[in-house]
């Protein structure tokens, strides 16, 4: 190994742009934004006729997962708070969609006619609560942000492993509360939040009085793609702007050194709660979308495995780097939603009797292991991360106290 060459070059190592930095510098930021927007729109316009039903459908789900990964990246990647219960916010967001966009509360609120705000002709005849999906998206983001802060609050003094355990517990508690809302210790009066394990279905289709969104059906899924793409664009915009803001710098400072950050005037409580709230809001935002896209919200969708899945997207892509997280999320979720199901025939062909999708987590585990061994910083690390993980090669040794003795 060329360790000597590396160590002599060490102090300047980060001054030389890496391969990825050089690629990134080929176009200015807005150039990349336009390029990817064009790709995203072209892909959507070509649609399922071109790419096939399965891939197009997987892509729509993927867009929602990217939003969640970007949300979790704020908590884990920017602020350095390891959150293993992110699924809680997906659940809260999806249930908000369930409550506000279905006949679920028909017997509770709105009488026989129901309450309708900005919905299509067809929906207007249904009982229950039916609210325009844009309003629901905003409301759910605000509601989950609130819950992000509420659940974040007790963890403020925790770090590392302890934080992970508590957040993991929250990720388990929240879906259980929904499931058992009618009975048991979580019974909240007579208000049923989830129909138990059955869940809430059907959920209203998105509607806006503009061409393309006037009459959305479950067969033609293009409108869903473009809704998700627009949501992702908003999410990316918010992420980039926050990263380069006063708050974004404070997040990284807190991740680096809480004591020093506090001594620089950073209010740790406020800054951490904002990370939780914004991360959660994006989880809820995507949760609403998945709620109405899948047309059903039920507790079985919100398993611990999902939190890990989203965390893997963040880690594999490159924690703290927005582009990396997007890439990680696209790769992992397409792998899960498209590649693995496509491979289902393989074991059968070689005489084995199991589905590849059934061992998906095994495959991911293996993938993660390989990744952590070969490239622990992820596909597209930001240079901060890369430096932390290769501290030996790139950082100065600990402060040279010998100088003083000499």
């Amino acid at each position: 190994m060329s360790t000597t060459a590396e160590s002599t070059a060490a102090p300047r190592a980060t001054a030389q742009p890496s391969f990825f930095d050089r690629v990134a510098n080929l176009l200015p930021g807005w150039g990349w934004a336009l390029l990817f927007a064009a790709i995203g729109i072209a892909y959507g316009a070509l649609g399922q006729e071109w790419f096939g039903e399965e891939l197009y459908d997987a892509m729509i789900t993927t867009l929602a997962f990217v939003i969640m990964a970007l949300g979790l990246n704020i908590v884990v990647g920017f602020a350095g708070l390891l959150d293993l219960g992110y699924v809680a916010f997906y659940a809260i967001g999806a249930f908000v969609a369930g409550w506000l966009m279905s006949a679920h509360f028909a017997g509770v609120i709105g009488g026989e006619d129901g309450i309708h705000i900005g919905v299509s002709e067809v929906t207007r005849n249904l009982p229950g609560l039916h609210i325009n999906f844009i309003i629901v998206l905003i409301a759910a983001a605000a509601f989950t942000a609130l819950w992000g802060a509420v659940l974040g609050f007790p963890t403020l003094r925790l770090r590392g492993d302890y934080l992970a355990i508590v957040t993991l517990a929250f990720g388990e508690i929240v879906p259980r509360v929904f499931e058992l809302s009618q009975s048991g210790p979580f019974g909240i009066g007579s208000v049923d939040l989830s129909n138990g394990r059955q869940g809430i279905t059907p959920i209203d289709k998105p509607y806006l009085p503009v061409p393309g969104l006037e009459n959305v059906t479950r067969i033609e899924i293009k409108p869903y793609y473009f809704i998700a793409l627009a949501m992702l664009a908003i999410t990316l915009f918010v992420n980039f702007r926050l990263r380069d803001s006063r708050l974004g710098r404070a997040w990284i400072a807190v991740r680096e050194d809480e004591v020093a950050a506090a001594a620089m005037g950073v209010d740790l409580v406020r800054v951490k709660l904002w990370a939780y709230a914004i991360g959660a809001a994006l989880g809820g935002f995507a949760g609403v979308f998945l709620g109405f896209y899948r047309n059903t919200v039920n507790v079985d969708q919100f398993e611990f495995g999902f939190s890990v899945f989203v965390l893997c997207m963040v880690i594999i892509g490159g924690m703290g780097n927005i582009a990396g997280v997007v890439l990680g999320a696209v790769v992992l979720s397409l792998f899960d939603k498209y590649v693995l199901p496509e491979l289902n025939g393989v074991p059968d062909a070689v005489g084995l009797d199991f589905d590849v999708t059934a061992v998906a987590f095994g495959v991911f585990g293996f993938f993660l292991l390989v990744m952590m061994t070969l490239r622990p910083e992820g596909f597209l690390p930001n240079r901060r991360r890369r430096m932390e993980l290769h501290e030996g090669d790139m950082l100065h040794e600990e402060p040279v106290y010998e100088v003083r003795k000499g």
């Binding site: 102090p11 300047r12 190592a13 980060t14 001054a15 915009f237 918010v238 702007r241 926050l242 803001s245 006063r246 708050l247 974004g248 710098r249 404070a250 990284i252 400072a253 680096e256 050194d257 004591v259 020093a260 950050a261 506090a262 001594a263 620089m264 005037g265 950073v266 209010d267 740790l268 904002w274 914004i278 240079r383 901060r384 991360r385 430096m387 932390e388 790139m394 950082l395 100065h396 402060p399 040279v400 106290y401 100088v403 003083r404």
Partner: protein, 262 residues
């Protein structure tokens, strides 16, 4: 030096500050004050409680007893970010830079307490936020030049040589427009020339910006050169205080130093 009067003339006053960790009394009933535009030092053998005392004043520790008044306001036990807001900035004995942030970003974080950008404004990037960001960047670059780091603003902080890291910490602390700057062993690891530059910088901060400096330092040359007033701590207690000449000839000080080495 005039006798301590109530409030006026003093930027910082600590009265009877005590910090106890279980059975260990790290700081024991220390009275201390920093005059406006003063440069004062705390010295003492290792483990004398100097840094603990520092931490009591900057909010990292809550004093077990006593009162800390800064600029006429009671800041006893206030959390660190409010202490910084009030106008005290500090550096750390074991450098605590944000290693994976750039040199410039480190100083920009130091400005946090003086910035007013809020979250929605940052997302929309209002004219106010743009202007503030621009001003903060200019201000940060000025400070970096002031402490002697005119280049490499986009290098990661961890890749700076050791002496430059110390300088960067000072620039970062200055970014919060402090009235009082607390330096915890700033010359540790610096060569004599760098120490001399730092001494000059402290004088400049006082004369040009009216910043008072409180120094913990082992380098007696620096301490004796720059300080108006020296307080000596040993085993958590104040054993002597006075001008450099007074302290130098104080038998208790000599005993504390020699005793700790014996």
């Amino acid at each position: 030096m005039s006798a301590p009067t109530s409030g006026t003339g003093w930027i910082l006053r600590a009265e009877g500050v005590t910090k106890q960790f279980g059975g260990l009394i790290a700081v024991n009933n220390v009275d201390f004050s920093v005059p406006e535009r003063g440069i004062v030092s705390i010295i003492g053998p290792n483990g004398a409680g100097k840094t603990s005392f520092f931490n009591c004043m900057t909010g990292l520790y809550k004093p077990s007893a006593g009162k800390v008044t800064f600029d006429g306001k009671d800041i006893t036990g206030k959390p660190p970010h409010l202490v910084t807001q009030a106008g005290i900035a500090r550096t750390f004995q074991n450098i605590k830079l944000f290693k994976t942030m750039t040199v410039l970003e480190n100083v920009q974080v130091g400005r946090h307490a003086r910035m007013r950008a809020r979250i929605t404004g940052s997302i929309i990037r209002t004219p106010f936020v743009r202007r503030e960001e621009r001003e903060v960047e200019e201000h940060s670059r000025d400070l970096l030049r002031l402490v002697g780091l005119p280049r490499r603003h986009h290098d990661l902080a961890a890749n700076l040589p050791y002496g430059d890291q110390r300088r960067l910490e000072i620039a970062r602390a200055l970014a919060s427009d402090p009235k009082l700057l607390l330096l915890d062993e700033p010359t540790a690891g610096m060569n004599p020339q760098e120490s001399a530059e730092l001494t000059a910088l402290m004088e400049r901060l006082r004369s040009e910006r009216g910043i008072a400096v409180l120094l913990i330092e082992h380098d007696m040359k620096v301490v004796m050169n720059v300080s108006d007033h020296i307080t000596v701590l040993a085993e958590g207690q104040r054993i002597a205080a006075g001008t450099p000449q007074e302290v130098r000839s104080d038998p208790r000080v000599i005993e504390a130093y020699l005793g700790s080495q014996a």
